[in-house]
């Protein structure tokens, strides 16, 4: 105490006396900030956590005063760095990942999906067009089938295959083990494809549209193949089990990508950068949900489809999932929407 007093009195400059009187608070803040940055939150007492915003304001005001009265460059630099570090903590991501996830499921996700409705409509139109194009191409020239459908999909499912062969690809896998490895692979693969569809939106959305057309074209071609043998409905059922979830997820990913592309191409009154950032943050919420939906889709594809061997049962599961998602996105969380709805 007396030692500190002596030092303060010994300082020849007013600005140094100012510093000596306050540096205790500064160092206290530095200790708290260093501990929080190191992730040692448990070592911090409740008092310290409560003291953080108060000390932050104290040190911030010290900085304002020091800027007007002191020419000690080292002290100013120290204060600036300290205030900046504390600012990142005080105004950092306040929520933990768990809290964020709860808010995300509890309305943030469905709100974000509702907010990009226009992009979803465009993506939907493009996807339908993709199916039609795929169908028409293969119908006009069978060679297109091999160009569209990648070889690993097309084991037995080639033009000219008999009705029995095609029927067997849809039914009768009940005896197999649940294809859990297959599910994990499907998920990882589909998630990467939808992240791609989203990320490509950055180039003003054009590559996203191309990707959607191509993926749906594959489906159109296969639909044509099964239609030729009178298995349209069975194929649709086979697809519907996971398809209502998976294709919905791809639709959301494409819509999210388009949303970014469209905001950058037509930013309106905002700057392009501001528009891109706003759209990107909204679209990333949608994308986090897409990954979840793809997990569900992979589960359905690998388990439910093998267990349910009738077309009507498959339609029931697929239909239920579709209704579930639509209800969740368009009816859930409307009450808590704070002007975020379009």
């Amino acid at each position: 105490m007396s030692n500190g007093q002596q030092a303060i009195e010994a300082a020849a400059l007013r600005s140094d006396r100012f510093r000596l009187e306050r540096e205790g608070d500064w160092q206290k803040l530095e200790v708290i900030v260093s501990r929080m940055e190191a992730g040692r939150l448990r070592k911090l007492s409740d008092e310290d956590v409560l003291a953080l915003p108060v000390l932050y304001r104290t040190v911030a005001s010290s900085l304002s005063v020091a800027r007007e009265t002191s020419l000690d460059a080292a002290t100013l630099a120290y204060l600036e760095a300290l205030v900046q570090r504390a600012w990142f903590l005080v105004y950092g991501p306040r929520v933990s990942l768990g809290q964020w996830f709860r808010r995300f499921l509890g309305g943030d996700w469905s709100r974000a999906v509702r907010a990009i409705w226009l992009d979803l409509l465009i993506a939907l139109a493009v996807m339908v067009a993709g199916v039609v194009v795929g169908w028409l191409l293969v119908a006009s020239d069978v060679e297109w089938y091999h160009a569209l459908v990648p070889t690993e999909f097309a084991d037995q499912r080639v033009p000219g295959a008999s009705r029995e062969v095609l029927h067997d690809t849809l039914f009768g896998n009940k005896g197999q083990d649940a294809l859990s490895v297959f599910a994990a692979f499907l998920f990882s693969n589909n998630a990467q494809v939808s992240i791609l569809a989203f990320a490509l939106g950055f180039a003003f959305g054009v590559p996203t549209l191309l990707l959607l057309v191509h993926n749906m074209g594959v489906m159109g071609a296969m639909l044509w193949l099964y239609h030729g043998q009178g298995l349209t409905l069975d194929f649709a059922g086979w697809l519907a089990v996971h398809g209502t979830t998976e294709i919905f997820a791809i639709l959301l990913a494409g819509g999210a990508g388009l949303h970014i592309g469209r905001s950058m191409a037509f930013p309106g009154k905002r700057s392009v950068m501001a528009a891109a950032a706003e759209a990107g943050q909204r679209a990333s919420l949608v994308m986090a949900g897409v990954v979840l939906m793809l997990v569900a889709a992979a589960m359905l594809e690998a388990f439910a489809r093998q267990l349910i061997d009738t077309t009507s049962g498959r339609f029931a599961v697929g239909g239920f999932m579709l209704v579930f998602w639509l209800t969740y996105f368009y009816a859930f969380g409307r009450g808590s929407a704070k002007g975020a709805t379009p």
């Binding site: 400059l13 600005s15 140094d16 859990s180 990320a199 950032a277 706003e278």
Partner: protein, 304 residues
């Protein structure tokens, strides 16, 4: 003088100002492209090591499983355990590729281990709160900026197919890899989408108080108004730096320069005490001017 000006300009090229909600302007320094690239390389090697060790660990487990007596390969339990290992592997590869950056950048330091080592972190561009959505958005784009072109290139080099596809992949890779070189704020595509940027995370120690030491010895040097009026804040800060670094040659040359300027000849051997006294008195003069609202930026500024 010319060198100093360019150095100052070069410093200001990366300098930005951020205003806190309390209305305090804080200087920020954008991370240099070199340190960001270095951080990326570090992170990628960490991810690679994580993937390698996980794979090796799972293979080891699988080998142990196969060696257990009484478990046939066709046996249900063994098959399921193998399946479980395979699923773990696929899931962990997906997580390492996509969640590594997310996990660390959402933490209190806002930086991956690589960024932390090089003293940089991410921040919101508008000075607001860094949100989870920003971190997700900026990392989703990493896929097309980095991993996808790498996969493309690997495929192309594998099959020896270096035709149009290989060229397209290279061009694609270059557009995104070089994106930070084509804008003022060094944003990569993910930063644009997220509204974030990468800044230096400064860490400084509180230096000692200058004027306490100076006044511990009785002031043997007194400077007049005219002798102090020749220098401004810029020279004061240079002098402060020289005193803090405390290198004898630098002290001697600065001592010579000041003595020449103010026409003193105090002789040699007492440079430090002389400079400390000059520093304290110059700072006292400039700070009292500051309190009156008069600033003198450097020696070229006239006293108002």
């Amino acid at each position: 003088m010319n060198a100093i000006t360019t150095a100052r300009l070069r410093g200001s090229d990366r300098a930005r100002t951020m205003v806190t909600p309390e209305g305090i302007a804080l200087p920020l320094t954008l991370a240099s492209r070199g340190s960001r690239f270095g951080a990326l390389l570090l992170d990628l090697s960490f991810i690679f090591l994580l993937m390698l060790f996980t794979t090796l660990g799972l293979i080891w487990l699988a080998g142990g499983l196969a060696g257990v007596e009484g478990l046939e390969a066709s046996d249900g339990t063994a098959g399921q355990a193998m399946q479980f290992l395979l699923i773990t592997w696929i899931a962990s590869m997906f997580l390492f590729r996509n969640a590594y950056f997310l996990f660390f950048e959402l933490g209190p330091r806002g930086a991956t281990p690589g960024k932390r080592m090089l003293g940089i972190r991410i921040a919101a561009r508008d000075g607001g709160r860094l949100s989870a959505e920003m971190v997700i958005a900026r990392n989703l784009l990493r896929d097309i900026e980095l991993f996808l072109p790498l996969v493309f290139l690997a495929n192309a080099s594998d099959g020896g197919d270096t035709g149009a596809a290989g060229l397209a992949a290279t061009a694609w890779f270059l557009v995104f890899a070089l994106f930070p070189c084509f804008n003022r704020d060094r944003l990569r595509a993910g930063d644009i989408i997220a509204g974030s940027w990468v800044v230096e995370a400064p860490k400084r120690k509180l230096e000692t108080v200058m004027s306490v030491r100076a006044s511990a010895t009785p002031p043997s040097y007194r400077f007049g108004e005219a002798e102090l009026a020749v220098y401004g804040e810029y020279e004061l800060q240079t002098l402060e730096r020289v005193l803090r670094e405390n290198r004898p040659e630098a002290l001697a040359s600065v001592h010579d320069a000041i003595c020449r300027k103010i026409c003193w000849d105090p002789g040699h051997g007492d440079e430090r005490a002389f400079l400390e006294a000059y520093y304290t008195q110059l700072r006292a003069r400039l700070e009292s001017g500051l309190r009156m609202g008069k600033r003198k930026a450097d020696k070229f500024t006239r006293d108002g």
